[in-house]
């Protein structure tokens, strides 16, 4: 024990590489999704065009990334120079002054090219704090072959009622096809994202203007009973364990007739290499009850610079490159148009080459444009965010409430009890955080 403990500080010293004059190493913490993996691969192009700047990548799973980066920034650790953060964190962290403003990325960055909902998602009080790398909305995916066989036709914008009726008709467990796949896995970014978005389309909201939780309202009751009965009636067995990835696997293997989820899924389900039913996938808009809001969520992963970083200039140079308009062309030239990160810039959707390569381009653009994080509900809300409320407490609330909703899908409790538990849990957490003085 003793000799090793003496060695530890020396080992720690050896770990930091000496900084030569003019040499900068940027530590980038990022989520391990496809777009980021490709960005890392293409990072050598940046290092070539910017001699003296080295990129050190820390790639982590979404939740681990969130925990690492949050604790590092909260205790001013200063480990990271560039971090990938989601739409939820951007306003929360910007408010805490944890992020450096990114308003000065220059004309080459072409800020005006960003899709307006995305641009507002990465801004706090009019100032941009992150550069979006990809963006997503929601889309209804369905099996055109099954619909044709059953004599059904999907409207351009379906209602929940229509989706559930179609699911009831197409549900065929004996042949391994389930009517409707939806997220059931507990988590603020899993089932909560779906249910909250669905609730918005039924006219519900998470909080009223005085931060009182709204789970005891008739709108939420309608949402929960519809969601639970649809998933229990026409969903696959084990739906309570299904998140985005599990549903993607089920739908690609032809086990779901209808799947409502993120536009991120569109390229995977329409690629014959990753999907068995690539030739019979149809896309429709998110369900809309005609009450003023559709079930359109908005998410984006953006690059941001923690205010604790001492290499801000180099970090911004990297962001200008990675999130700028020229990056799309670089990816297209190396890996093809389908590999370009979608959902952030108007110019990508105006590009005829991209539109030809991506049959889902129009629906993605439409989905993102339909989302409005500043006014997620027809009623007034004190928060920003469609499928989340951008306050620090939401992660904890979403986790706890999500578990109650999952318990309702599993049949352990009734939807009404789940809502009552959700209401009590949210009140408790908001009170503990000092919202009710």
């Amino acid at each position: 024990m003793r000799p090793y403990s003496l060695l530890l500080p020396i080992a720690a010293l050896a770990g930091c590489s000496p900084q030569h004059a003019g040499e900068t190493t940027l530590t980038i913490a990022t989520v391990n999704n496809g777009d980021m993996v490709r960005l890392k691969e293409l990072g050598s192009a940046f290092e070539k065009s910017h001699p003296g700047v080295h990129l050190k990548w820390v790639m982590l799973e979404e939740n681990v990334l969130r925990q690492r980066v949050t604790t590092d920034i909260a205790i001013r650790g200063g480990q990271y120079d560039v971090v990938t953060i989601g739409a939820y964190e951007i306003p929360v962290w910007a408010k805490q002054k944890w992020l450096a403003p990114l308003d000065d990325l220059g004309p080459a960055y072409r800020k005006d090219d960003l899709l307006p909902p995305i641009r507002s998602a990465v801004s706090y009080q009019g100032t941009q704090f992150a550069a979006p790398l990809n963006g997503e909305g929601t889309v209804t995916m369905y099996r055109t072959d099954l619909f044709r066989k059953a004599g059904l036709s999907m409207p351009e914008t379906p209602t929940w009622e229509y989706l559930i009726q179609a699911a009831a008709k197409l549900n065929d467990p004996a042949h391994g096809v389930y009517g409707l796949c939806l997220r059931g896995k507990a988590g603020w970014g899993e089932n909560m994202a779906l249910i909250t978005t669905m609730a918005n389309s039924y006219g519900a909201r998470l909080f009223d203007e005085k931060w009182r939780p709204q789970f005891d309202t008739p709108e939420w009751r309608r949402t929960m009973t519809t969601y639970v009965s649809a998933l229990r009636g026409y969903g696959p067995p084990g739906a309570v364990a299904n998140g985005f990835n599990e549903n993607l696997a089920l739908f690609s293997q032809g086990k779901c007739a209808i799947w409502f989820d993120s536009t991120v899924a569109a390229p995977f389900v329409s690629d014959p290499k990753t999907s068995r039913i690539a030739n019979s996938v149809g896309f429709a808009s998110a369900p809309n009850e005609g009450l003023g809001r559709g079930a359109n969520w908005l998410w984006t992963w953006g690059l941001a610079v923690p205010s604790s970083s001492k290499k801000e200039a180099a970090a911004k140079e990297f962001i200008r490159w990675a999130a700028g308009p020229d990056y799309a062309r670089l990816v297209a030239a190396r890996l093809g148009w389908l590999a370009v990160p979608p959902g952030t810039r108007r110019s990508l959707y105006d590009n005829p080459e991209y539109r030809r390569a991506a049959p889902f381009a129009a629906i993605t653009l439409k989905a993102i444009s339909a989302a409005n994080p500043n006014a997620p509900s027809v009623k007034l809300v004190p928060y920003v965010g469609v499928q989340y409320a951008a306050i620090p407490e939401f992660q904890g609330i979403g986790t706890e409430v999500g578990q109650q909703f999952a318990a309702a899908v599993a049949g352990q409790i009734s939807p009404e009890d789940a809502l009552a538990e959700a209401q009590a849990a949210t009140k408790r957490q908001m009170a503990a955080a000092g919202y009710y003085k």
């Binding site: 604790t71 909260a74 805490q96 696959p236 084990g238 364990a241 620090p392």
Partner: protein, 297 residues
């Protein structure tokens, strides 16, 4: 003689002082590594320390504890911790005993069999949880669903219908080899002459097992109970990977995690941690007593 006595006493005192001086670095290290974190945790549990709230770090007394104990998920977490320990102990000891008795009878290829029986112990907990969740228990594509499907029965949705028992099953599978191995070695040390004598007296196999073998196994069983309890108190990976928590399957360790890493509430997590330490100590006192009694017997 009488004059030398105080000198010896002095020398003893001197030696004792020297000895204390010599062990002081070790004691110091021990203090630094065990007491300081505990003190820090106690301090954190008394302040309002939320990473995402600006200007926190206010002394709040026992507010974190009050909030924890009045949280409706605290009671179930405590109960789940005990239930999981109980279930896994029961399953692994009963199953391990059966396996050990069978293995003891095998003469050909025992080495290979023992290796196979032992292998679940070497699978990392998250990996085995994933294997069970996705390959065996998954209700659409899993092996169990296929079995029940080919028998004409609907698939059982394990993690929705019986989350705690499913986790208990996975963990019991992991700990079965440990129990089996310890019981097997102690079965092999069972006195052959004693058994032969009992057989000559006309005792049946069942009577020999109940009157001779089981008492012989009391000590190893006590050891298994203690060892497994220590590890099962901090059970985490299996819950994280399969159900991701929830009132039906969170234990105390998972509650601490969800406080610290999902709510970034260091104060609340520290309070939960201290409560978990107290709980573990209470359990340990009972266990040490029980084990001590069986060792004396």
């Amino acid at each position: 003689m009488t004059a030398a006595a105080p000198a010896i006493g002095n020398a003893r005192a001197y030696m004792r002082g020297r000895g204390r001086l010599l062990v002081s670095p070790a004691v110091g290290l021990l203090l630094a590594f065990s007491i300081l974190p505990l003190v820090a945790t106690i301090w954190f549990s008394l302040i309002d320390y939320r990473l995402l709230a600006p200007g926190a770090l206010r002394f709040v007394g026992l507010a974190n504890y009050v909030r924890l104990l009045s949280d409706p998920s605290f009671g179930p977490a405590l109960l789940n911790t005990l239930l999981l320990i109980g279930m896994v102990l029961l399953a692994s000891i009963a199953g391990g005993l059966v396996l050990a008795l069978l293995l003891e009878k095998v003469t050909f290829g025992r080495g290979l069999l023992r290796l196979l029986v032992l292998s679940p112990f070497f699978v990392m907990p998250p990996v085995s949880a994933l294997l069970w969740k996705n390959l065996l228990m998954q209700p659409v594509a899993g092996f169990f669903a296929w079995v029940s499907g080919s028998l004409g029965a609907p698939p059982f949705d394990w993690f929705a219908r019986a989350p705690l028992a499913s986790i208990g099953l996975i963990v019991a599978w992991q700990w079965l080899p440990f129990a089996c191995l310890i019981l097997l070695t102690s079965l092999q040390s069972f006195d052959r002459e004693q058994r032969e004598a009992a057989q000559l007296d006309g005792a049946s196999g069942l009577v020999i097992f109940r009157e001779l073998v089981l008492p012989h196994l009391a000590r190893p069983i006590a050891i298994i109970v203690m060892m497994e309890t220590i590890f099962l108190l901090s059970l985490f990976a299996e819950i994280f990977v399969t159900t991701g928590g929830g009132r039906a399957s969170s234990n105390l360790a998972f509650l601490v995690y969800s406080q610290a890493m999902l709510r970034y509430d260091i104060g609340g997590a520290s309070a939960a941690g201290i409560v978990a330490v107290i709980f573990a100590n209470v359990l340990a006192i009972f266990l040490v007593r029980a084990v001590g009694r069986s060792l004396e017997a």
